[in-house]
């Protein structure tokens, strides 16, 4: 009983995490289902067929690849741009700071439908063909604000004494940034990049308006709900989930190793 009291917070945390993973579990479970017809709602029998034929639907594969490409590119751009903005907002005084703040916040207050529809009007007016490029533009646009928010919250509590120390020792602002600030900021940057990546892969509404004939993974799925979502969707989603899990675990292991090494170096006291 007192074990429960002591570990109450962890237990609750664990339960919540389990709750968050329920749909993932269901998706994975139904990737092994063997439906009679086109609809994958009730359990019909176990089969590995769809895992063997995971890439049988070429339209689906194309959609998934498009989504991944899009997410990687937009994450890279948005994280870079957003970090620069966050740095400026937190560490500098300048005219137009309130306005800049506002400009960052308002996209997050705008419904996706509005962003999507208004962007489309812009592209049409300037006769820009909708497709991958317009999707990329849109995805960067709506993820920048989130990157700024995450990096900024990291920067606000940032202990600048190390940077001051570096500057006292004669480092230029650029060197300080490169060797002190950036490494210390990296966890925050990674968090922001992860968020941006997830938002991009996730996005349906804005993509729907600005994709033209380009089909992303969510767009394919939405179409599929109107005629029966193929089991391969479950398979690929599970694969995606597992792959990202593995990638993230590897990064963590790497980080741990780096920390261990840093701890044994004599000068890092």
């Amino acid at each position: 009983m007192s074990w429960l009291r002591r570990n109450a917070v962890m237990v609750v945390g664990g339960l919540i995490v389990a709750y968050m993973l329920i749909p993932i579990f269901v998706v994975a479970l139904f990737s092994f289902n063997d439906p009679d017809g086109k609809f994958n709602f009730t359990w019909n029998g176990f089969t590995l067929d769809y895992w063997k034929d995971a890439f049988a639907i070429s339209q689906l594969n194309d959609a998934l690849l498009t989504s991944l490409e899009l997410a990687l590119l937009s994450t890279a751009i948005a994280t870079a741009l957003g970090t620069l903005i966050a740095l400026a907002l937190v560490r500098h005084q300048f005219f137009g700071r309130r306005a800049a703040n506002l400009l960052i916040v308002i996209p997050m207050a705008t419904p996706e439908v509005v962003i999507g529809a208004s962007l489309l009007s812009l592209f049409v007016y300037f006769q820009v063909a909708t497709g991958f490029t317009t999707l990329l533009i849109a995805h960067v646009m709506f993820t920048i604000s989130f990157v700024v928010v995450v990096v900024r919250s990291r920067l606000i509590g940032f202990d600048s004494s190390l940077e001051e120390a570096a500057r006292d020792l004669g480092a230029t602002p650029l060197t300080t940034f490169r060797t002190i600030t950036l490494p210390l900021l990296t966890p925050g940057l990674l968090a922001a990049a992860l968020l941006a990546f997830a938002l991009s892969i996730d996005d349906f509404v804005i993509s729907n308006f600005n994709s033209g004939s380009t089909e992303t993974f969510p767009l394919f799925i939405y179409g599929a709900t109107q005629r029966g979502v193929p089991v391969q969707v479950n398979v690929l989603a599970t694969m995606l989930f597992l792959l990202t899990l593995v990638a993230m675990i590897l990064t963590i292991v790497q980080q741990r190793r780096a920390e261990k090494l840093a701890a044994i170096r004599p000068d890092a006291r």
């Binding site: 609809f39 592209f123 063909a129 179409g223 005629r227 029966g228």
Partner: protein, 387 residues
């Protein structure tokens, strides 16, 4: 803050400056107007002329499950064309919204053929987004088109549309859960409370409800439409009708969340694989008939190839393969004879070859009257959004 105080005057001037720029920019943009495509395209509707032998690429956009797996490949072999066949139309409005800005500028984003329902075909045509057919290039279509689809009210001369498949909107029922459903009015039966879905397509759901009340849908007034909408509103509000859905009503039927639905004939057959008790039921008061049509949009890169495709699918042998797969009404005559030899059961299917008797009370899909049409659309929209 010293810096602040010193810069106050400068700040105010800057603010006025910025504000002026903003106003000027707004007015400039307003003067340029917004190119949201109001009023459609100007000028005469062009005819997409066929030029010699068909060659190169063909891009077809169609609804899902409308073609079997072999036809496209066989067509490519026979014609030498390279075909991109995309099943990216799930909803008339959605495809319209996607393409409208391009079509307004005279481009089709590479598409040579689109397949849209009657009323959307007419809408696109009126806005100047479609091209007329070069009739001389599609003799097979003219020859084999079934008589009762040759002169629909929206395109009496078949100048810009060729039916891909036709269909019927009626009742789809899970016979094991709801064996006694025969009329549209059954959707209001409390026995089925919470298990009924209707379509969010105004031109399917409301005319059916009107028919069940004895209204002549071809000549219905706005008041008739509004009365039917009110009836629907009450049923949705009370929970009698579970949901007003788009195409995804098939999901509800498949998993048993709905046992009675207003739906499309071909879908019933698709659902039978998951639940053999699901059937299309022709309502006592009749159904709504519509067709999905092949149209050629403005800016289509290869109309000649499009005509080749149309001729191909209107050959009874080729059509038979398609018709067997999708279970909608085939627009090509001569197919029933083929089935009588090869698959007599299919030849008798009322869904693919509906007899006159079967369809005697059916009406073609009507549009709301122009007078009061806006009010009708708004009232229906209020129901579909729980307002």
């Amino acid at each position: 803050m010293q810096a602040d105080r010193a810069g106050t005057a400068g700040t105010s001037i800057r603010r006025v400056f910025v504000a002026t720029w903003v106003i000027v920019a707004t007015l400039a943009l307003a003067a340029c107007g917004s190119d949201l495509g109001g009023g459609g395209r100007e000028g005469e509707v062009e005819t997409a002329a066929a030029e010699g032998e068909a060659s190169g690429d063909l891009f077809v956009s169609n609804w899902p499950f409308y073609i079997d797996g072999k036809t496209v490949g066989e067509f490519e072999q026979e014609s030498g064309l390279s075909v991109e066949y995309k099943e990216d139309i799930n909803d008339n409005n959605a495809i319209f919204a996607k393409l409208q800005p391009r079509l307004q500028n005279g481009e089709s984003e590479g598409r040579d053929i689109l397949v849209v329902t009657d009323w959307m075909a007419k809408k696109m045509y009126d806005l100047g987004y479609l091209q007329n057919f070069d009739k001389s290039a599609i003799p097979t279509v003219a020859e084999n088109l079934v008589p009762n689809l040759q002169s629909p009210s929206f395109d009496p001369e078949r100048e810009y549309s060729a039916p891909w498949q036709a269909g019927m909107t009626g009742l789809i029922v899970d016979k094991s859960a709801a064996p006694d459903v025969t009329s549209i009015n059954d959707i209001f039966d409390p026995k089925y409370k919470g298990k009924v879905t209707v379509l969010s397509e105004l031109r399917d759901t409301i005319p059916l409800i009107m028919k069940a009340d004895g209204v002549d849908v071809e000549n219905a007034t706005a008041d008739d439409w509004l009365a039917a909408i009110d009836k629907l509103d009450a049923a949705v509000g009370s929970g009698q009708i579970r949901d007003v859905t788009g195409n995804d009503y098939v999901d509800d039927l498949a998993r048993g969340d709905a046992t009675v639905a207003i739906g499309w004939s071909g879908d019933a057959v698709q659902l039978q694989a998951d639940n053999p008790d699901i059937e299309f039921v022709m309502p006592d008061e009749g159904c709504i008939i519509w067709s999905d049509n092949m149209v050629i949009p403005v800016g289509a890169p290869n109309p000649t190839a499009a005509y080749e495709f149309m001729n191909y699918v209107y050959e009874p042998d080729n059509q038979a393969q398609i018709a067997a797969y999708n279970s909608y009404v085939t627009p090509v005559s001569g197919v029933q004879e083929i089935f009588q030899e090869e698959d007599p059961a299919l030849a008798r299917s009322e869904l693919i070859f509906p007899s006159e008797d079967y369809q005697q009370d059916c009406s073609t899909q009507p549009n709301p009257p122009t007078d009061g049409g806006d009010e009708v659309e708004q009232a229906f929209e209020s129901v579909t959004t729980g307002g």
